[in-house]
């Protein structure tokens, strides 16, 4: 197993890991590191052909427009959507807020039912909760069951009568992979509008919006080996054409008449007012190429090895309690855990002193923690450049921390 990972030598493809050869980066659920081609693509725009898009009539303006719109095509192809169904945003949070504010809110009425998951990130909870509050709609929360998975039966029971559902493909706390292939058909049979947060799944699992049957989906560039400042909102054409733009200004109109009445641009450009994140979109397209080069078959094999290794290590440790499913089948290598007698910030600080970068806190997903009746935790999360040796070292250091400074 370890040989398989070592052979791949992913570390050498990431400049940050070449520069900091002893760093073990285990905070990939927060943001992934960026491989050479992504950095080169961003630099390429800034160094070789900087120009605004959709405007200039000179050569570099053509190149930047082609590259930017090429990025949209790359994203569409990556998730099996149409080109016009891709809106570039800043990040997943902005994507969700855009969808909720411009489509959900105008179509939400008193008494309507909206389902969210307890295990979602705040960004896939708060916009929905606020919309329900504003419209006196009913917010239903699918709880986390005792096995650490979202209570599937509870979702099924509420399916009839729901208007909107906000799902999370992979939890950023428990690593749970939601069985959307089973769940979405049930919801769609009830005519429910289904939104999917793919922020944590997009670089681990193949995404096919048509097979998934979702109406809208969001993810961020920076969690998928791409740059920060670029996000994606996929919305089905039929739905997007009914959405009113949130931001108004340049680019999103074709013309403005003497009475200042704007003639809206086509979808999706009417949702991208102002100069977009050009370099970042181009970087995201390179990140997608990077993922495609390695392929989901290889990524999935690596994830399974890391998940299996991590689960065995963590469940064998004294004083350590893992959140989420214990089975390799339903999860990705995202391990959030409590250590009895150690505050997660002390553990994260100690690991940092050992050159291991992890996250401590509630991972912007406080409701996930209410199932466990405890405060903050520590999270180890993996990506392509993670090896079993990295996990082994990190868990050994957790064990050392327990021995050195845990409250007895």
């Amino acid at each position: 197993m370890t040989e398989f990972i070592n052979k791949l030598d992913f570390r050498s493809q990431f400049p940050l890991l070449r520069k900091h050869s002893s760093l073990i980066y285990l905070d990939s659920a927060a943001t992934t590191l960026k491989p050479d081609p992504v950095i080169k693509a961003v630099d390429g725009y800034n160094e070789e052909y900087t120009a605004n898009v959709h405007r200039g009539l000179y050569r570099n303006a053509d190149i930047s427009t082609e590259e930017y719109e090429g990025a949209r095509e790359a994203v569409a192809e990556f998730i099996n959507a149409s080109y016009e169904e891709i809106i570039f945003t800043r990040n997943t949070t902005e994507s969700i807020n855009l969808f909720v504010n411009q489509y959900v809110l105008p179509n939400l009425y008193r008494g309507d039912k909206v389902l969210i998951q307890q295990s979602s990130h705040h960004s896939n909870i708060l916009p929905w909760a606020r919309a329900c509050e504003q419209k006196n709609a009913q917010l239903i929360i699918a709880p986390i069951a005792k096995n650490g998975l979202t209570d599937f039966e509870a979702v099924k029971k509420t399916a009839a009568g729901l208007k909107f559902v906000a799902l999370t493909h992979v939890s950023n706390v428990t690593g749970e992979i939601l069985e959307i292939e089973k769940l979405v058909p049930i919801l769609k049979s009830q005519n429910v509008t289904v939104f999917l947060d793919s922020a944590q799944s997009i670089h681990h699992l193949p995404t096919n919006v048509s097979e998934f049957g979702v109406d809208a989906l969001a993810f961020s560039g920076h969690k998928t080996y791409g740059p920060t400042g670029i996000g994606v909102l996929f919305v089905k054409k039929k739905i997007m054409s009914k959405m009113v733009p949130l931001f108004w200004g340049g680019s999103m109109v074709l013309d403005v008449d003497r009475k200042l009445k704007p003639e809206l641009n086509d979808i999706p450009w009417r949702f991208e007012a102002g100069t977009p994140a050009i370099a970042e979109a181009i970087g995201l397209a390179e990140a997608i190429k990077f993922i495609n080069r390695h392929g989901f078959k290889q990524i999935s094999r690596l994830d399974k090895i890391l998940t299996d290794f991590g689960l065995k290590q963590i469940t064998a440790m004294d004083r350590v309690k893992l959140l989420g499913p214990k089975s390799i089948k339903n999860r990705l290598p995202i391990f959030t855990f409590y250590v009895q007698g150690i505050h997660p910030h002390d553990l994260a600080y100690f690991l940092s002193e050992c050159n291991v970068a992890v996250r401590a806190g509630k991972m912007c997903a406080a409701p996930s923690f209410y199932s466990y009746d405890a405060g903050e935790a520590t999270r180890i999360s993996c990506a392509l450049y993670t090896s079993t040796a990295d996990l082994d070292f990190a868990f050994k250091k957790v064990d050392e921390g327990i021995k050195r400074f845990a409250k007895r």
Binding site: Y349, G375, R408
Partner: protein
Amino acid sequence: MDKNRENNYLEREYIIELYRNPSHFKEVTGANLFAEKRNIFCGDKLNVSIRINNGQISDLGFNGNGCILTVVGASTAGDIVLENSQNINDSGFEMEILKRLGLEKITPARLKCVMLGAETIKEALRKERSEKQK
């Protein structure tokens, strides 16, 4: 990165020892001042109960969970307050806590942890002053 900027508190036995056996983490009988403070960076929360006799703090006790720096900071703040050696509204109070713990170079984010106990005591006394002014 300067590894010594926080004086690596985990390598100091006296800090670990104090964390495991802190002073003033107890119930206070006859307490007449109470306050609660939260560390905005991490959500850690401390409650303090203070007993005042004849205008003087005669005992205090903390309740709550926190990281090592929160616990040792609160413990030390309690010591100083009961010694009555510093005016707690003086900057010297915080400096004295840091000096006793050898944490003068702590980063601003972790300073919040060290000072949570001190802030909780100050909050209780502030509340008392504003009650008196009513």
